[in-house]
Symmetry: C2
Subunit: 128 residues, 2 copies
DNA sequence: GATGACTTTTACGTAAAAGTCAATTTTTAG
DNA sequence: CTAAAAATTGACTTTTACGTAAAAGTCATC
C-alpha cells in the first residue's frame, strides 16, 4: 500500500538532478520521509514535485512557487485568512492570465513567420 | 516623423531599469541609435523591447529570447535556411504549447481552491 | 566480505540577469 | 552661458537556482 519512490526514480521520471530535489527540500517545498538518512518519497511528494516543476516551466521563482504551494495546502479556518487566500488566488490568476496572453501573442507571431517561410519556399520552388 | 524615445521614457513605460536596457544592448538584443553617446530609441526598438520583456515574463532565458528575435527577423533567402527556421519555429511552438498546458492546469487548480474557500466561507456564515 | 549502485552531508563554485555605485559627460531649461 | 537634470561607462556586488566534488554511509548481491 505504501509504495515509496527513491530519489533517483524521481530524478529519472522528471529529468532533474538529485541536487535539485534536495534543494527543494532545503527550501521547504517538499518534506519526504526518512528511513535513517535516506529520503523516501510518497505519491503525494511525487505529485508536489510535478507541480513545482510546472511552476518552474512557467518561469516562476522558488518564492512564487512556494506561494502557489501554500495556496494548494487548502483553505484555513478563519475568515480573515480565507479572504487573504482568495486575494492571493486572484493575484496568481492575474499573473497566469498575463502569461497566457503573452503566449497567444507569441504564437500568433510565430504563425506569421511560418506563413512567410512557406510563401518564400513556394516562390523558390516555382523559380523566382 | 522620427519620434525618438529616451532611455528613461522607456524604463518608465516598461518598468525596467536603464541597466536592464543597456544589458540588452550589450547582449545584442537591441541596437538603439546614438547621437554622440546618448541612446535614441525608435518605435521599432520600443516594440522589440516589448517582445523581449514578453519573453522574459514567460521565463525564457536571454539566449532563448535571442532565438525568438532572430526568428522574427524574417525569412532568409536560401532553402536550407528556410527549412531550419521552420524547424525552430516548430520547437518554440512546442515550448509555448507546453507552457500553455501548464497554465491551464494551474488555473484549474486555483479554481478548485477558490471554490473550496467560498464553500468554507458559506459554512462559516451559516455558523458551522 | 567485497563489489557496485545509490545515497547522504558539507561546502565551495558558477552562470544568468540584473542591481548598485562612482565618476564623468551630455543635454536641457532658464 | 550656466546650473540642474539626465545619461553614460565601468567596475563591483547580489540573487537565484542549482552544479560539482569530496568523503562517507546503505544495501542488495555474488
Amino acid at each position: 500500500m505504501h509504495k515509496y519512490y527513491t530519489i533517483t526514480e524521481l530524478t529519472r521520471e522528471f529529468g532533474v538532478s538529485t541536487r535539485t530535489l534536495r534543494f527543494y527540500e532545503d527550501e521547504g517545498l517538499i518534506h519526504p520521509e526518512r528511513r535513517g538518512r535516506t529520503r523516501l518519497f510518497k505519491a503525494s511528494d511525487r505529485r508536489l514535485i510535478g507541480e513545482i516543476l510546472r511552476g518552474r516551466r512557467l518561469g516562476f521563482t522558488i518564492a512564487e512557487i512556494r506561494e502557489i504551494i501554500d495556496i494548494y495546502k487548502g483553505p484555513p479556518g478563519e475568515i480573515g485568512q480565507l479572504e487573504l487566500m482568495m486575494k492571493r488566488v486572484a493575484e496568481k490568476r492575474d499573473q497566469l492570465n498575463q502569461k497566457r496572453k503573452d503566449i497567444e501573442e507569441t504564437l500568433a507571431e510565430l504563425d506569421n513567420v511560418d506563413e512567410a517561410c512557406l510563401a518564400r519556399l513556394a516562390e523558390l520552388r516555382v523559380g523566382s
